[in-house]
């Protein structure tokens, strides 16, 4: 195989790593709460910008990752407790609230950060050239993939091996019965929303180190994450894995061979899946 193709596949995998972290948070929250958090893209951007400032101030990238993730988790917690909970039960008002939040956050980012696109500085020690099977590729991108796999495994563990996960999965199927059984579903809601926000913040730092962060970029990111979860099936973790792998490759190859249509191309599998199987590849009927 041509070495160029190997590079493209690796780029696609890096892209997929970011898409998965982004999409898994959204799909988790949707599966349980039936809320599409349309401020997910804004969360990503804010997380990325916070990470950028931390790297700039301390030069410590791992710290930036933690700071970006945690600050968004806190923001998500406050938003869920103070606002979302007031309109619980009406899925449209809930979604509209997240739209309003997205507008406010993306305008806030304009106040505090540059209007020009920026990228997080990754320190040299995290980015050594790594040669595997004769192909040299930036080591940091392997780190990105590793973090993403780690996140996937921990999500799987939380969902299928812990009590919280069991309650979440039961809540997806029948939330009335779950609360009748004595589980405090409100706490579960908050927990899931916070995890979802945390993932968006982490994705922001990860993505901001590989791609660019720019004002207004939140809508593009939101669209990516929506495509991931529509294609994979809403509420399905496996779906998020598979669809981000597919989309990552499409984005990488599209950029190389059809730059005029690279963004356009990622919608093609979504449109096909919607026409044939509206609930997505691994989704169940809602």
């Amino acid at each position: 195989m041509d070495i160029k193709f190997i590079f493209l596949i690796l780029n696609g995998l890096t892209q997929a790593a970011i898409l998965f972290v982004l999409g898994s948070g959204l799909t988790l929250a949707f599966g349980l709460m039936r809320v599409v958090n349309l401020s997910h893209g804004a969360f990503y951007m804010l997380g990325g910008y916070i990470g950028y400032s931390v790297v700039k101030a301390t030069g410590n990238w791992p710290l930036a990752l933690v700071a970006g993730g945690l600050s968004i988790a806190v923001a998500g917690f406050l938003f869920e407790r103070l606002m979302l909970v007031r309109v619980r039960g009406g899925d449209l008002p809930e979604t509209l609230l997240t739209v309003a939040l997205a507008m406010i956050i993306s305008d806030l980012c304009l106040v505090f950060w540059a209007r020009t696109p920026i990228t997080l500085n990754v320190p040299k020690y995290l980015n050594p050239p790594v040669t595997i099977l004769g192909v040299t590729y930036p080591g940091f991108r392997y780190i990105l993939m590793g973090i993403s796999i780690l996140i996937a495994l921990s999500l799987w563990f939380i969902l299928y091996k812990t009590k919280l996960g069991a309650a979440v999965r039961a809540g997806v199927d029948d939330r009335e019965t779950v609360s009748a059984l004595g589980v405090n579903i409100q706490v579960i809601y908050s927990a899931v929303f916070v995890i979802s926000a945390l993932l968006a913040g982490l994705a922001g730092v990860l993505g901001g180190s590989y791609l660019q962060l720019s004002p207004g970029g939140d809508t593009t990111i939101l669209t990516y994450s929506l495509v991931v979860i529509i294609l994979g099936g809403m509420g399905s973790l496996l779906g998020a894995v598979v669809s981000s792998l597919i989309l990552g490759q499409i984005m990488s190859f599209g950029l190389a061979f059809a730059p005029q249509y690279s963004y356009f191309l990622i919608f093609i599998p979504m449109a096909i899946v919607l026409a044939i199987r509206p609930q997505g590849l691994f989704g169940r009927k809602i």
Binding site: V35, M83, Q260, F267
Partner: protein
């Protein structure tokens, strides 16, 4: 809703004032009113779907922008003149809306909203990245209105009168559609699609027709907008614009016929006043959006209604369908 029945006198007065407005107002005011009219069309197209059908579609702005692109491409790039670009705009948008609608109508509620959002982004992506046909970021410039039958529509006042005429016709037509038999069936579907399906109504096709009607309103707005601004760019159809239009609908009151119009007038007036004072228009609009959803989900008109009926403003009232969320 019954504003028109109760007070034809006021409606007539408002129309006369609107027609006479350019005679005593400055050019800036007239241009602002033209903006209100074309965004009014766009807002009506979204408001009709939300209020009458319970469908939140975020593709409307893409239809709005596509209309401009068709006119720009045919007129500027190929020199084809009125009425062909304008008619083609309606045909092209109709075809695309039909294609999108056939897919999107399989879903409902939040999923429908997400899918229409993605459709809007498809069009945006194509317009942004494609340089060979759509001219990429720079878009198409220099679209001008014509001199038709001796009337020069390059003149702001003439353009305003033409736009106003179309707007009033559009409102009247929509009023008839909303109050027709078809409109009632659509309301039934908004309240309970399953029951309507059980009664034998083709729910899927009725929603599709409503979607097509709304796309035509968005197109009308887009046609007027591109002639008025003279340029068509990807920013015309970006997501933040769709969200702004959604805001105008919710702001005015999505369940009211006049809601979208009231919302657009309010949002544009705010734009005029705020933009001169601060750059943070989006912040103000976002906070306003938040407050409306939290405290007065039926919008400005809902608030007025409540005050008129002497009710206390409820903290939270239900918007949209009253059907409770169910777990299947």
């Amino acid at each position: 809703m019954n504003l028109a029945k109760k007070s034809p006198f006021y409606i007539g007065l408002i129309i006369i004032l609107l027609v006479l407005m350019p005679l005593f107002a400055g050019k800036y005011t007239v241009t602002t009113f033209i903006r209100i009219i074309y965004f009014g069309f766009l807002s009506m197209s979204m408001g009709y779907l939300i209020g009458q059908g319970g469908l939140i579609s975020l593709t409307q702005t893409a239809f709005f922008g596509l209309a401009g692109y068709v006119i720009g491409l045919m007129n500027i790039d190929h020199g084809i003149i009125f009425p062909w670009p304008d008619l083609t705009a309606f045909v092209v948008v109709f075809a695309i809306a039909l294609f999108f609608g056939l897919i999107a109508m399989k879903t409902e509620k939040i999923v429908f909203m997400m899918i229409t959002l993605a459709f809007g982004q498809i069009v945006w992506a194509f317009a942004t990245q494609n340089t060979s046909i759509m001219h990429g970021w720079s878009g198409i410039r220099g679209i001008r209105p014509y001199v038709l039958y001796g009337v020069n529509f390059n003149d702001t006042t003439n353009f305003y009168w033409a736009a106003l005429t179309l707007f009033l016709l559009g409102l009247f037509l929509l009023w008839r559609i909303v109050n027709s038999h078809f409109g009632l069936i659509l309301n039934g579907i908004r309240e309970n699609p399953r029951r309507m399906a059980a009664l034998g109504y083709p729910v899927y096709w009725i929603k599709l027709v409503a979607f097509l009607i709304s796309s035509m309103y968005a197109t009308m707005g887009g046609v007027l907008a591109c002639y008025n601004t003279g340029i068509i760019m990807p920013t015309t159809l970006q997501l933040s614009r769709s969200i702004w239009v959604l805001l105008t609908v919710i702001l005015g009151g999505s369940t009211y016929f006049w809601g979208p119009v009231v919302g657009v007038v309010t949002a544009i007036s705010l734009d005029v006043f705020i933009s001169s004072a601060t750059e943070r228009y989006n912040m103000v609009i976002g906070i306003l959006f938040l407050v409306i959803v939290l405290f007065s989900p039926t919008g400005i008109l809902g608030m007025i209604d409540a005050v008129r009926k002497g009710q206390k403003l409820k903290f939270i009232t239900k918007i949209f369908s009253t059907e409770k969320r169910k777990t299947d």
